[in-house]
């Protein structure tokens, strides 16, 4: 496969901007950086406005038109299967009134000052950028209209764009976009106020289901280039022997045997970080070779004696006990309403439960990989990274280069799930290329590397206590969430969860319970804790939605009816009233919590699966709902448990309300993917530690959903909204949190066995 070359233009769609500009385009809107766009926001800002450097309301950076009419859209968000390259292009093309057949997409390199924020996390690519991208398209259309009007000597108001042409109806004249590109490029970019957005009724692509992925053909024919696919002339290959225990380091090593392996070129020491882990390499001994097999065999031949460091005794079993003990004691209060003690004292019945959620690994199908070429005071990177500008700045700092001397070319990502937001592997590649005097080096992680040395989803013990009145309604609720924080990779030894982690379904849980307290016990981290698709919502949703079902059982009530009662009447609540201080970065007034919408998805999922229908013995229905990433999702699951305790899932209905939908086909696929991922979490996935080392090292131990456990049928119900002015919700992550409790609630309905420890594993075996 040819290497993508940033100067000559690659053979794949991920062309560099520089390469593209040097190529065939004759209409490239100027690329100046208006000072106002770079000005620091002085007032409070939310969403994309609050991101570093704000967003760039500048069409010149995102659209180019070639003489043949081909429209090239530069996508500044990273593609990892969620279809963002297609969705971004749909927004631009629709407003441009472009012919979809003439649209191509290139991937932006990492440059935040040029493209605006590029961190593809938080389920916000479209939430934050759909309006800027619409304006990009509308501005380009306006300039084409102005150019045509000038050429014909008619008022601009008399011309209009239609399907890649500008028409003058009065004279019957028309010109194609390619014909107008050069003249339009010479015009000044109009002010935002002068740009007319399309009437949503005229949308051709936005909100439609028939737009295929722009990368489909390349992916299905093997032409797509992922990080692991990049090849450069003279490229070397490298793997790293990293400390098996987080915080460990090399005590001594002997590379003699490794250097005797045919193809091994050099053995290089990488120093561990001195402070918090953040995105630094873990350190260790790298083996650089002429091919990947030699690198792997060379690593096997290394003789390394490790100092395991302060986490040598980390054991999941003992840590679970420690978290449980912490969760049984009063702790830091992070949310309080009413009089918890008084209400508990008056309760007719009290219920308590503890839930355990293990570490998880993102385990993207493509493990981390990067190619680096560091020479002549410059660095060029090709990598599957979710955050290219962070990668650029972090690498520049580690190599002692100016950020402008570092270019990060982003490939397709074979899955990300948060792992590829952390560019430690790119830094490894950069350090090795420098150590090899500038030779390009492909640094790759094996599956074992990925599972042994990850940024793990936090292990958690969730303890809940409730007091019920005589009618079985909850009048008091105490939730203690004990879990190590993601903050531990950024600051030395923090003990408590950060506000944004608590704001993932805990401090913003919209439950109609008058006396409510949330506490957060101390929980030190012993491994790198990182974000994983939907993050802390996973444990919070599992615990809360399981506990509500337990309360329903204690009250002798139908779980779905009880869930609706606990959600309470339809109402709109600002999350800050509840105690949340994150709200996914969104304005709490523009993005309040609407419990009517939460109720609606519950009712929709229940209706979809036929809630209340009779099922054979050993089968059951479960339901759960969760609000996250400003989107409402409910899941209803049907499970069957056989006499040996084996779980199958005949059907899942998932209902989602994410506000207006840009790309409904992608909404559906993200929900389907969430269900499949959630099945793995529920039934089999667990990362555990013994003596500081991971017990699971490959997919035989870390078992994700497979063909035999995946639901036979997934039905996605999308709540449709006609109001395009409504704010968008996220899509990539919010489908996941309610999947696990829906399944475990269904298992309870089928067997009477309550699952309080994930994964289910062999807990149902007789």
């Amino acid at each position: 496969m040819p290497a993508p070359d940033s100067t000559s233009g690659p053979a794949i769609a991920n062309v560099s901007r520089r390469g593209f500009l040097a190529g065939t385009a004759v209409f490239v809107l100027a690329s100046g950086l208006p000072p106002s766009a770079l000005a620091q926001e002085k007032e409070k800002a939310f969403g994309a406005d609050a991101m570093p450097n704000g967003w760039r309301d500048d069409p010149t950076l995102f659209v180019a038109i070639a003489a043949d009419g081909t429209v090239t859209v530069t996508c500044h968000r990273q593609e990892m299967g969620q279809g963002v390259r297609t969705s971004i292009a749909m927004l631009v093309a629709d407003e441009m009134e472009a012919d979809w057949a003439k649209i191509r997409v290139v991937q932006a390199h990492g440059d935040e000052e040029r493209f605006g924020n590029q961190d593809t996390d938080g389920s916000r690519s479209l939430r934050h950028f759909h309006m800027p991208m619409r304006r990009v398209g509308a501005t380009a259309r306006t300039m084409l209209e102005q150019a045509a009007a000038a050429q014909w000597g008619v008022p601009a108001a008399e011309v209009r764009a239609e399907n890649h042409r500008i028409l003058h109806q009065a004279s019957g004249r028309s010109l194609g976009y390619g014909d107008l590109a050069k003249a339009a490029a010479a015009l000044p970019v109009p002010d935002r106020a002068a740009v007319r957005l399309k009437d949503p009724k005229a949308f051709r692509y936005i909100g439609k289901e028939d737009v295929g992925l722009v990368d489909n053909a390349d992916i299905t024919t093997g032409k797509a280039v992922y990080g692991i696919d990049v090849r450069l002339d003279g490229m070397l290959y490298a793997v790293v022997a990293r400390p098996p225990v987080f915080g460990g380091k090399v005590r001594r090593h002997d590379a003699a045997a490794a250097l005797k392996v045919p193809g091994v070129v050099k053995v290089v020491t990488i120093d561990p970080p001195e402070g918090p882990a953040e995105f630094e390499p873990l350190g260790g001994i790298a083996v650089v070779a002429r091919n990947s097999w030699a690198a792997i065999k060379g690593r096997e031949a290394l003789q390394v004696e490790w100092d395991d460091g302060p986490n040598a005794g980390y054991s999941s079993a003992a840590y679970r006990d420690a978290l449980t003990e912490a969760a049984r004691k009063p702790a830091k209060v992070v949310r309080e309403q009413g009089d918890l003690a008084g209400a508990m004292g008056k309760a007719a019945k009290r219920v308590e439960a503890e839930y355990y959620i293990p570490h998880l690994a993102q385990a993207p199908m493509e493990p981390p990989a990067a190619v680096a070429r560091v020479q002549g005071g410059k660095a060029e990177i090709w990598a599957c990274v979710q955050a290219p500008q962070v990668t650029r700045l972090r690498l520049a700092k580690r190599l002692g280069l100016q950020p402008e001397a570092v270019r990060v070319n982003v490939t397709l990502l074979g899955g990300g799930f948060g792992r590829k937001s952390k560019p430690d592997f790119v830094l490894e590649a950069g350090l090795l290329s420098r150590a090899m005097d500038g030779a390009p080096v492909k640094l790759f992680w094996t599956r074992e590397d990925d599972l042994r040395h990850g940024y793990y989803h936090a292990v958690s013990v969730e303890r809940l206590e409730a007091g019920l009145d005589r009618d079985g309604r909850p009048i008091a609720w105490l939730h203690r969430s004990a879990s190590p924080t993601i903050g531990s990779i950024f600051a030395p030894d923090p003990k408590h969860l950060l506000p944004f982690e608590l704001g993932m379904g805990l401090t913003n849980a919209p439950l109609a319970i008058p006396n409510f307290r949330v506490e957060n016990p101390e929980a030190p981290a012993h491994v790198r804790i990182g974000w994983y698709r939907s993050v802390a919502n996973i444990q919070h949703a599992f615990a809360i939605q399981s506990f509500i079902a337990e309360l329903a059982h204690a009250a002798g009530r139908d779980p779905k009816d009880y869930l609706l009662e606990v959600i309470g009447p339809p109402r709109v609540v600002e999350p800050t009233e509840l105690g949340d201080v994150w709200n996914h970065g969104e304005d709490p007034k523009r993005y309040p919590i609407d419990t009517g919408r939460l109720r609606k998805v519950v009712e929709t999922a229940a209706q979809g699966i036929g809630w209340g229908r009779q099922l054979p013995k050993g089968s059951g229905l479960g339901i759960a709902a969760h609000y996250s990433f400003v989107t409402y999702v409910a899941v209803a699951a049907e499970v069957a448990v056989d006499a040996r305790g084996r779980v199958t899932i005949p059907r899942v209905d998932i209902a989602v309300d994410c506000g207006p939908r840009i790309n409904p086909e992608r909404v559906r696929s993200q929900m389907e993917g969430s269900v499949v991922m959630g099945v793995g979490q529920a039934l089999t996935a667990e990362i555990s530690f013994d003596k500081g080392r991971t017990v699971q090292e490959n997919f035989d131990g870390y078992v994700l959903a497979r063909m035999d456990t995946a639901p036979r049928e997934i039905r996605v119900h999308q709540i449709a909204w006609d109001d395009p002015a409504m704010p968008l919700g996220g899509v990539g992550e919010p489908g996941l949190p309610p999947v696990v409790p829906a399944i475990t609630n269904a298992i309870f309905a089928a067997t009477g066995k309550r699952i309080r420890r994930l994964p289910v594993g062999d807990q149902l075996r007789a």
Binding site: S421, A491, P499
Partner: protein, 139 residues
């Protein structure tokens, strides 16, 4: 869309309280602090932005700075060029009371004060003082 009902109103609705039965030893202080907390909550949301990466980095460093009662360190994760990112983290530490941690806990303390105040319990003053201290970044 549902009706707009605030949490406090919902609590009253659910508990059947009608209010006004007891004197309000902390009413004025609670009202004053509530406005500060609302402002701080919005500042916290704004300063930690939308993604988990930026939020984790800024809140983590801001909280550490508050814990040590010291200026923020050099930013660990460069979500923008260092000078700007240092400013952003400092803003998260200052305006949002430790990346929002102080505001969040102050809100909890103030709600406790409110519950005590509704019962006419003078212990609400201690809870108000706690909320004030948390907002000042001195728990």
């Amino acid at each position: 869309m549902g009706h707009v009902i605030g949490t406090a109103a919902l609590v009253l609705l659910l508990t059947g309280l009608t209010g006004g039965a007891a004197a309000s030893p902390c009413g004025e202080a609670i009202g004053r602090l509530q406005a500060q907390i609302d402002e701080g909550a919005e500042a916290a949301i704004s300063s930690s932005s939308g993604g988990q990466g930026v939020a984790g980095a800024r809140e983590g460093q801001a909280l550490e700075a508050e814990r040590r009662d010291a200026p923020v360190r050099e930013p660990a994760a460069p979500y923008q060029k260092e000078g700007k990112e240092a400013q952003a983290v400092q803003q998260a530490a200052d305006a949002a009371s430790g990346g929002g941690d102080g505001v969040m806990r102050a809100k909890a303390a103030l709600n406790r004060a409110r519950a005590l105040d509704q019962k006419g319990d003078a212990a609400c003053r201690d809870a108000v003082a706690e909320a004030e201290a948390l907002l000042r970044g001195r728990p």
